[in-house]
């Protein structure tokens, strides 16, 4: 453990913290400036953000609810990015997950107790299958995962739109006449996640439990297990991994399937915890947010938690900002700026690292030239 503490509290830590603080300060300052010049009050916005996300137990509950799917998606993305695979399709995988969950809960006669697990499993399977398309194309036809997952996002939207516009598929059935909207019926109450408890106005949803379990499982698996180690080897050095017996196609496919499954599961959780219906706006950027959380956390599963909560705060507090008269979109601006700001400190590190590597390379080149000349000189007398 001392090694870990040493790693956290090494000499550069203060500098890193200072860098992050400075970057975030700039991001927040710019957002404030935007509010100021358009005639709003930055302080009011900050206060509203706080009130809306952390101000009361109820709001904290809301923040957690917003963080949960983002966190689950991010955990899945961590798996692929550790294997060196860029999956930018969680948004679509989440949507398909929600769609499959809705289909199962609305159309299959699953006995009551099994309803919630069936819904969540269907969601995970749907997300996995959607990511599986990308894996198939990658290892069968060598199609870039970046491109396929990007395109599959848009196909997912149309697939959901198709389903919720067809009465024979998932479109809602209105009993009392009127025009059916492009949305599904609400899922049966059996398929809804139970509310775990309530203290005062703060509710605990079981989605939180799922996220915590997912965090522990993914966190342990990627950092501690043999499988997680192989993922990292594949991502860091495919050739060394191959020699050590890691089969890239099998492991890569597995990583993509799991990553999709987590995004799908996130969709399932949103469906049976809060949304209860599937429609095209269902994913509401949660997939993209989760992707960003994972990328900011830089492959560290534990680091996804604070980042996901930060996103949850912005998502939850955003709704509250409108009360100040400042358009709530300022939160989106702030969120994007914070993401860009979070990129800075690692880049500073990287630049330093690169300089050091160059120096070592130069020294070694000189040493090589020197040593290869040595034996010949000594021996050939």
């Amino acid at each position: 453990m001392s090694a870990i503490t040493a790693r956290i509290f090494n000499a550069g830590t203060a500098r890193v913290v200072a860098l992050y603080a400075a970057s975030f300060a700039v991001a927040i300052f710019l957002s404030g400036l935007l509010v100021q010049v358009t005639g709003g009050s930055p302080l009011d916005v900050i206060r509203a953000l706080y009130e809306g996300s952390l101000g009361s137990p109820q709001d904290i509950g809301l923040t957690i609810d917003e963080s949960v799917p983002v966190l689950i998606v991010a955990l899945g993305v961590i798996i692929t990015s550790r294997a060196g695979i860029v999956n930018i399709g969680p948004e679509g995988q989440l949507l398909i997950g929600g769609l499959c969950g809705a289909a199962v809960s609305l159309r299959l006669a699953v006995p009551g107790v099994a309803m919630v697990p069936a819904t969540l499993l269907a969601a995970a399977a749907g997300g996995a299958a959607w990511a599986g398309i990308a894996a198939l194309l990658r290892y069968w036809r060598n199609v870039d995962v970046v491109i396929s997952t990007l395109l599959l996002n848009f196909l997912a939207i149309q697939l959901v739109s198709f389903a919720v516009n067809r009465p024979y598929l998932l479109q809602e059935k209105l009993t009392g006449g009127g025009t059916a909207s492009p949305t599904s019926d609400p899922i049966p109450s059996d398929a809804r996640l139970p509310l775990l408890g309530q203290t005062g106005t703060m509710t605990f949803t079981s989605g939180t439990i799922i996220a915590v379990v997912a965090l522990v499982v993914v966190g342990l698996m990627v950092t501690r297990s043999r499988w997680g180690f192989k993922l990292r080897m594949l991502g860091l050095n495919a050739e060394a991994a191959r020699r050590a017996g890691v089969r890239a196609a099998a492991l890569g496919t597995g990583a993509l399937l799991l990553s999709g499954a987590f995004a799908g599961l996130a969709g399932g959780v949103v469906l049976s915890d809060r949304a209860f219906r599937i429609q095209t706006g269902f994913s509401n950027n949660m997939g993209f947010n989760g992707l960003l959380v994972a990328l900011i956390a830089r492959r560290n599963p534990w680091a996804t938690v604070p980042v996901a909560i930060l996103f949850g705060i912005l998502r939850a507090g955003g709704g509250f900002v409108a009360t100040t008269g400042v358009p709530r979109y300022v939160v989106d601006v702030m969120q994007a700026l914070i993401v860009l700001a979070a990129l800075f400190p690692p880049l500073v590190d990287k630049v330093n690292e690169r300089r050091r590597a160059m120096r070592i390379a130069r020294d070694e080149a000189a040493a090589t030239a020197a040593s290869s000349a040595t034996p010949t000189l000594e021996v050939a007398r």
Partner: protein, 301 residues
């Protein structure tokens, strides 16, 4: 006016903004950047196109300011990705979110009323049956495509700059050895992409619609990505992709009015399916720039 003419005309209007942006994205992808911030560039271009038009009271002012804002987005993206080596997808996604948020925010907190570019009809040519109306009776900025498309082709295929851009997208190591500044060419290609995407966005708001709606690009930026893939990284194919996607969109809009009940989702999905199908068909043949989406760092090995 028969249905076909209507659809053709609408298809052209749907295609034009995509075509402007795709000229830029085509160039950027040839240099090795898979740029997913076109959406943000176009949104910026659309909003500030309206601002520019309102402030200068001329459409030209709007187009210029729109392009400039697209360029600004590109400058941020390029310097993060190809100077600081930040992950291009994180940067791209954030910039999209930023521009969507910013334009939505500004739309609500400011008030600009735009004017709309006038229709320019080309005499005689306009009389050509079916196509004439669609091609030769448009808002005047439409005809900028006649400049932009050949310009792009010329830049990429005929100039030394373009040759270097292509070499940088195919084999950055070899290009580097030959004395070409790889990341500089990639940044410049992205700047061009920003200018063109901003222009495409400004065209959308200033020329076609005459005002800015929240999220008015609505995924068009990603369609441009799909078009370049569909076109297998050829300018002609890319533009054909834009036309196909534009037509699909206009058919989808026109169908209800014509009393048809074809599935709109299939039409909207068509571009993406086609792009994927092209990838499946061509991926093995390596039609994509060999170093696409691979950051370049001079050999440390």
């Amino acid at each position: 006016m028969d249905a076909l003419t209507t659809i053709m005309g609408s298809a052209m209007r749907q295609t034009a903004p995509l075509a402007f942006a795709s000229c830029g994205e085509y160039t950027a992808e040839r240099s090795g950047t898979l740029n997913i911030s076109i959406e943000g560039m176009m949104l910026g271009g659309a909003f500030f196109g309206v601002v520019g038009t309102a402030v200068t009271d001329t459409v030209v002012g709007g187009l210029v300011l729109g392009s400039f804002v697209g360029l600004l987005v590109a400058v941020v993206h390029a310097n993060f990705s190809h100077r600081l080596s930040a992950n291009t997808f994180v940067v791209g996604l954030s910039l999209n979110a930023l521009m969507l948020g910013l334009t939505s925010f500004l739309l609500e907190s400011t008030d600009f009323s735009s004017r709309r570019a006038g229709v320019l009809e080309i005499p005689l040519l306009k009389e050509i049956p079916v196509l004439g109306e669609a091609l030769f009776s448009n808002r005047w900025p439409f005809y900028l495509l006649v400049v932009v498309i050949p310009l792009t082709r010329f830049l990429v295929d005929r100039t030394r700059w373009g040759l270097e851009v292509r070499s940088v997208g195919e084999d950055p190591q070899a290009a580097d050895v030959t004395g070409i500044d790889v990341n500089k060419r990639r940044r410049q290609s992205l700047y061009y992409c920003g200018l063109m995407s901003g222009l495409g966005g400004a065209y959308l708001s200033v020329a076609e619609v005459g005002l800015f709606n929240q999220n008015m690009v609505a995924g068009g930026g990603f369609l441009v990505n799909a078009a370049v893939i569909f076109g297998a990284w050829r300018l002609g194919g890319t533009l054909a992709g834009c036309l196909l996607f534009g037509t699909a969109a206009s058919v989808q809009l026109a169908l209800p009015a014509l009393g048809h009940t074809i599935t709109p989702q299939l039409l909207i999905a068509l571009p993406y399916v086609l792009a994927l199908a092209t990838m499946v068909a061509f991926a093995r043949r390596g039609r994509q720039p060999a170093a696409l989406a691979q950051p370049f760092e001079r050999g440390i090995a």
